[in-house]
Amino acid sequence: MIIAVDGNSASGKTTFANKMAKETGATVIHMDDFFLQLHQRTNERFSEIGGNVDYERFEKEIINPLIEGKPTLNYHRFDCKTGKFAKELVVISNTGKNDIIIEGVYCMRSKKWREVYDKMIFMEINKDEQLKRLKARNPDLLNKFVNEWLPMEKKYFEALFTDLQANNLKELERRGKFEKHRNN
């Protein structure tokens, strides 16, 4: 199974994915490893809805191989601290023996991507708890979150749900393909 976990920053996506991986042997792919590269960080890009992720690379390295049924997905992590690709090559088995969990904001950004997923989980959290968690995680990044990243996410989530409604969200929910989890 391919499971996608999207939702608010600090809502518990990574924790959920890692816990599930530990219990079931699933492999986790983090959207954080597909951060925008330096040359992609333009104003034009940031004003694009769902633009704050290297979706070109994600589609090429993850989505397309999944659609083609390739036995492995191969990629290098992008390290946003150093602005470089990590030296290690990640090789993910896609033979169906273990689940693959894709977690992080923007992982449901297009219909093409969503059609690849067997299950989608959207995680929500209330604003106060979110800010508390973000502050605890890294106080230096709080401003960046509040002023830049969270508003970008908000726009993306609105567009995502408009798109989902237009594509029969109810039916997806009925079939257990889409569910919302709310933390606090």
Binding site: A21, K22, E23, T24, G25, A26, T27, P71, T72, A86, K87, E88, L89, V90, V91, I92, S93, T95, G96, K97, N98
Partner: protein, 366 residues
Amino acid sequence: MENLNHLIDLNDYPVKTWNQIISLAQLIMKSPGTYKGACTGKIMGTLFYEPSTRTQMSFQSAMLRLGGGIIGFDNPETSSTSKGETLGDTTKTISGYSHLIVMRHYLEGAAKAAALTADCPIINAGDGGHLHPTQTLTDLLTLTEEKSRLSDLNIGICGDLKYGRTVHSLVRAISHYKANRFTFISTPELCMPDYIKAELIERGISFYEVPTLESALPQLDVLYMTRIQRERFDKSDEGKKEYEKQKKIFTLDTKKLKTGKEDLIVMHPLPRVDEIAIEVDDDPRAVYFKQANYGMYVRMALILTLLNHEHSELVTTDDSMAITNDFVSNAQCENLKCITRYEKNLKNRLVKTADGLVCNYCDYCS
């Protein structure tokens, strides 16, 4: 063939049996006194066709601690092998003198061939570059003791991943447990063979390939170091330079170890040459000498299990060690180090499988 329980290949047994041996080793460590006379009156023969001090002595010490006796040789020059006796005849004879035989051989498939004529259980203590199941059991016990689990581990393996028999067996064994990942740290020349990677992918296991130890270290729960053998490099000046360069990249010192997790453990099958700096020994995360000690306890557990198998639940898998009869030919195995090239009377050499013709003894696939 008599229904004797040999240990030729760990995969002849289900994981349940591995876990039983590991649990027994833990019991022995907890109360060694209880097992003091458990093998009184039993004799273990050690047939070492090539020297391996550590393996031999750990087996001998294991048997002595259980109250048994030991016979054997560690130099075939002084045995009747030098007179031209076949492996089959030697095994047949010695198995009449002992209750258990531990065999180390430089030829691949030797232990399996020996098991055909033996009237007592055979333990494979290494057959050329093929298998070394008691090293794998040692590694599993070390992980169980030092990490308290055999699952949910990121295991880094560093050095010579291409020729290292120990690491191939370890990777295969660990892949039977849940939620483990591997980080392969080597040069492209000495990287993990494709057939091992394909096995992992088939089993649904993901892994990382990293060109330097430094970049891999911070994420690891276990670091398994191996020796980079000089003889793998070209003898030219260029080859020497390359070896020196590689050696440095893949040497563990305290500076590199600083970036490792607090609960990381560093393992090594030993002997070490210079891939781990001596200074690392003082770090509590270095467990390789403990690992050598666990090797003795796991061998005690194995000896006990094989000698008392009628009382225990030693179960083999369906495709156990019996030489199968669905062979296609007795043609020569293409592996130059295969036992069948030297013991001409061995039957049923090649079996047809999905991958092609596979040797019944050394598993070489042509």
